[in-house]
């Protein structure tokens, strides 16, 4: 029998090793797998390279992971947001690396990795500092830069519902990077608000087919990052 369900966030993240490349879904708090990130903090893996659109808020979730000095390098499109304090401070002190990637290029580099495509050309960033050092090439008279794929060892993803095959559906704009991050990692680890029986998810409406998912854990009442930040909570508590 196939059963990708694990009992706890701790069990789900147990194999993440020092130095791993880890993708983390979410756009701001929407879709951020906060319980998996906290389990990763407890687990202790360090020297991580983290790929995520932002760098987290306050002192919970991704921001807490960074605050605990577990992250060597961030690959993201928008490292500062209204309540991001941890990353800016470390960055200014030269204590964390940053690779800044345009958001669409980031999504496509992740997808291409999952699709077995090692490189592609894009018009994004041509003529800007973010194209510096990148190969460029003309097609039909227009200039493009070549972008290499990004692959991760693990991805941590949040979704609305999952089954034991790892089929997933998401909630509204919390979908964002989840589907491509499941494609783009060796081991995709997912927290679902609900685990349902096989066949309960409409096969026409499954967004992430289970083939892209390795582990699923139910977190039925996930924390709301913005509330924790408003209360100035700090993980671990």
């Amino acid at each position: 029998m196939i059963n990708k369900i694990v009992a706890s966030p701790a069990e789900a993240v147990a194999d993440i090793f020092d130095g791993a490349v880890v993708m983390i879904s979410g756009f701001g708090e929407a879709g951020s797998p906060i319980e998996l990130i906290h389990a990763l903090i407890d687990q202790g893996a360090k020297d991580l390279t983290v790929i995520s659109n932002n760098t987290g808020s306050g002192h919970v979730g991704l921001a807490a992971l960074i605050a605990h000095r577990r992250v060597k390098k961030m690959i993201c499109s928008f490292p500062r947001t209204a309540n991001s304090k941890v990353f800016p401070e470390l960055y200014k002190n030269g204590e964390i690396e940053l690779e800044l990637v345009p958001q669409g290029t980031l999504a496509e580099r992740i997808r291409s990795g999952g699709a077995g495509i090692p490189a592609f050309y894009t018009p994004t960033s041509v003529g800007t500092p973010l194209a510096d050092g990148k190969e460029s090439r003309k097609f039909d008279g227009k200039t493009y830069v070549m972008e290499r794929t990004i692959r991760a060892d693990f991805s941590l993803v949040k979704c609305k519902a999952a089954d034991r095959y790892g089929n997933l559906v998401y909630n509204k704009t919390a979908r964002n990077f989840g589907p491509v991050m499941c494609m783009g990692a060796e081991t995709a680890i997912v927290q679902a608000k609900k685990i349902v029986e096989l066949g309960e998810l409409d096969p026409e409406a499954v967004i992430t087919p289970g083939i892209f998912v390795s582990k699923v854990v139910e977190v039925s009442d996930p924390a709301e990052e913005s509330k924790l930040v408003a209360e100035d909570r700090r993980y671990p508590w």
């Binding site: 499109s77 345009p102 669409g104 999504a107 992740i110 500092p129 964002n176 491509v180 709301e224 913005s226």
Partner: protein, 218 residues
């Protein structure tokens, strides 16, 4: 540099309306964060315009009533929004397919600087020590989407934002189509910057004095 203390020219609301008038019925539009968001409130009667937010929603509606916010239904500025009937959700790679593949018709953006060739700088002031953050800005201007910039004509200090050459790091080269300021509507043409409309009571010379790049009349 010229003092801009006199209160003449269009209000921010007028500016947003000027942009909205130039967006035809049936358009797919991406609105940047800040002033561009106001454009949605000025769609002329009888037109239907569909808003795209790059974090995965086509058919973005207005802000929800208080108490009806959903932390998982937000826009690119991470504000709470709603979804209209006929909306759809999708992942980031599909969302940027809509952008990079030129399926979006118009993008309305703010700017730090626009050059006379239509170069745009709107993501970084290049200040030492600042945390660089680009988001989707470079993707939005990379295709052939019409790019409308909405911005005050000068900085608060009266420094021109429409310049010969951008001094801030570029978002994209030759990408801006039209600039909507409090003083004028300016089209970026191959031959230079052409003033299409002046705000009430504003003269061409008044605008030129507040613009580093050379302006033309049609």
């Amino acid at each position: 540099m010229v003092s801009t203390e006199e209160k003449i020219g269009w209000s921010v609301s007028d500016m947003a309306r000027n942009v909205a008038i130039d967006i035809p019925n049936g358009s797919y539009v991406n609105l940047g964060i800040g002033m561009p968001e106001l454009v949605a409130g000025h769609v002329p009667e009888g037109r239907e315009v569909i808003y795209h937010t790059e974090n995965g929603l086509l058919g973005m509606g207005p802000a929800p009533a208080e108490g009806h916010e959903d932390p998982e239904l937000i826009n690119a500025g991470k504000k709470h929004v709603t979804a209209i009937p006929g909306a759809s959700y999708f992942h980031h790679a599909d969302s940027f397919t809509m952008i990079r593949g030129n399926h979006i018709d118009f993008c309305v953006l703010g700017a730090f600087q626009v050059s006379e060739e239509g170069d745009l700088a709107n993501w970084s002031t290049g200040a030492p020590g600042a945390i660089p953050a680009v988001g989707g800005a470079m993707d939005l201007v990379a295709g052939d989407i019409k790019i409308y910039v909405i911005s005050r004509h000068t900085t608060k200090e009266g420094v021109p934002k429409i310049v010969k050459q951008c001094t801030y790091p570029l978002t994209g080269k030759k990408v801006v189509d039209t600039i909507y300021t409090d003083l004028a509507i300016i089209d970026v043409m191959k031959e230079g910057l052409f003033v299409r409309e002046l705000a009430p009571g504003v003269t061409f010379d008044y605008v030129q004095e507040r613009t580093e790049a050379k302006l033309h009349l049609y």
